[in-house]
């Protein structure tokens, strides 16, 4: 068996020297079962089985109605945290590449501090200490709602990781692109927005999508704050009914479906965002 035949199909397109002893290379269609996406089949089966349990099994149904309301928190926290983290990441990523000494060092410090502390520790510290302290210092009379404290914690954490994604993406654009823009008379800002960032997006989007999904999954860490998201709901259901299996499996089911849907969306979005790559995949 040739392990490379599926991985590099374009090789078979090239004319091959006609050696008499050279065996005819198999085409992809001969051994379709080698390239068939069986993983989809396995994942799909799991989803279907879990779905059947949730629909037909009484315990799972009870777990579902206890857990599912948490989806509102989970989804709104995911989107809010991702939006804030992307803006923070863009600022810190461009800050690192800035000529300005202050921006550069602030960005670097932010990233190093966040990356140097475990995520769950940061969630505790930011949501329970930093945000209340800052709001008190700013003289805000009421305490910040738990939802926003949780979202800010997650956004601050992921902002630092996303900053590195932006930095890498911007640096992946050849310097000649900037020179071409500037030599046409485009300002620094126009060059950045019309030339560098759109091209950087190509290498930024896939890892950014990964982090979007990672944020969705990491909202489960917010359960330590006592907010009513999916994980917290599942644990409460387990604690009050002792139907641990139904609770945990139902929770897995909800997360899995959410993540699968989100990654399908990201793949579609990436394809849509790079029309010049049409026909490449």
């Amino acid at each position: 068996m040739d392990p490379f035949s599926a991985a590099s199909p374009d090789v078979s397109d090239q004319p091959r020297p006609d050696f008499p002893e050279a065996k005819q290379r198999r085409t992809d269609t001969d051994r379709w079962w080698e390239s068939f996406p069986w993983w989809m089949f396995l994942v799909g089966s799991l989803v279907v089985v879990l779905l059947a349990l949730v629909v037909f099994n009484e315990d799972y149904r009870a777990a579902w109605s206890a857990i599912f309301p948490g989806i509102y928190f989970t989804i709104s926290a995911t989107f809010s945290a991702f939006a804030i983290a992307t803006v923070l990441g863009l600022l810190a990523g461009m800050g690192q590449l800035s000529q300005n000494v202050v921006f550069k060092n602030l960005a670097r410090a932010y990233i190093e501090i966040i990356r140097g502390i475990p995520m769950i520790v940061l969630i505790f510290v930011v949501a329970l200490v930093v945000v209340p302290d800052i709001s008190k210092a700013l003289g805000v009379p009421n305490s910040v709602p738990t939802f926003w404290r949780a979202v800010i914690a997650l956004a601050l954490i992921y902002g630092a990781y996303i900053a590195e994604i932006f930095r890498g993406g911007i640096q992946s654009v050849p310097i000649g692109q900037v020179e071409a823009g500037r030599s046409l008379g485009l300002s620094k800002r126009s060059t950045t927005w019309s030339i560098v960032l759109p091209q950087a997006m190509r290498s930024i989007l896939p890892p950014l999508g990964n982090d979007f999904i990672a944020i969705l999954k990491d909202t489960s860490l917010l359960s330590v704050l006592g907010v009513l998201e999916l994980t917290r709901n599942a644990r409460q259901f387990n604690a009050s009914t002792f139907k641990i299996k139904a609770g945990f499996y139902t929770m897995c089911f909800v997360y899995l479906v959410l993540v699968l849907a989100l990654s399908a969306f990201m793949r579609w979005f990436e394809a849509k965002m790079s029309p010049e790559r049409e026909g490449e995949r």
Partner: protein, 245 residues
């Protein structure tokens, strides 16, 4: 008045690498100056200093009477008057050919999309590829890409065009199509400064040929003077190497 006036241009990298050591050059309207010289002699750096892609360590560069080295000068405005064509084309890969040519017209010249597109199509016609307006750069050959790059620069109505080894990254069969476009431009009276290894182009199209070595213009004169009767020993040595092989 001269379109380009360079006085005492010096460029030193990292305080140790002396790329350009005191270059004077003035280029009049409609002149085609071709700069030749061995690799690493500083000829590209001279060109890149003329639109300040490199900041000169010392010396002055005037474009149409405006000193680029002056801090008061709005560089973006002057750069719009100086077209630049790069060795690696540097087309914007995420934009169609048409958008490549209209982008700066709209953002810098403030032209409407309609106006910019009609200028773009006229320039693409001029370089011989009007039918590729809606293609993306990666769908074009190197020669076609370089011609789009020339059209992109021309669309800004530059006072002078700089060419930085425009054919060095091309396959041999595509060099001619680009040189033909440049020859037509020269015949139309465009002021051009061209860094190249194409001696045939230099001889045919140049008003003057400058030979650069070790960051200085060693010799400058008409193609006949420089190619047929070089005065400097270094020029003779270089021409011997490139012309007789």
């Amino acid at each position: 008045m001269k379109i380009v006036e360079v006085r005492g241009l010096t460029k030193t990298f990292n305080e140790t690498i002396h790329a350009v050591r005191g270059v004077d050059l003035s280029v009049a309207q409609g002149e085609v100056v071709v700069i030749v010289g061995p690799s690493g002699c500083g000829k590209s750096t001279i060109l890149r200093c003329i639109n300040l892609l490199e900041t000169p360590t010392a010396g002055d560069v005037w474009i149409n009477g405006v000193n680029l080295v002056d801090d008061e000068t709005d560089l973006d405005l002057v750069r719009a008057e100086v077209g630049m064509v790069f060795q690696q084309f540097n087309l914007f890969p995420h934009l169609t050919v048409l958008r490549n040519v209209t982008l700066a017209q709209m953002k810098v010249r403030g032209r409407t999309q309609e106006k910019a597109e009609s200028v773009a199509l006229a320039q693409l016609e001029r370089v011989g590829i009007p039918d590729k307006a809606n293609a993306y750069p990666r769908q074009l050959s190197g020669g076609q890409q370089q011609r789009v790059a020339i059209a992109r620069a021309l669309a800004m109505d530059p006072k002078v065009m700089l060419f930085d080894e425009p054919t060095s990254a091309l396959d041999p069969e595509m060099i001619k199509e680009v040189l033909d476009v440049m020859r037509d431009l020269a015949a139309d009276g465009m002021t051009m400064i061209v860094v190249t290894h194409e001696m045939g182009f230099a001889r045919a199209a140049a008003s003057r040929v400058g030979f650069v070595d070790e960051g200085k213009i060693v010799e400058i004169g008409t193609p006949a003077e420089v190619f047929d009767n070089p005065q400097q020993e270094r020029t003779q040595l270089f021409l011997n190497q490139v012309l007789h092989h």
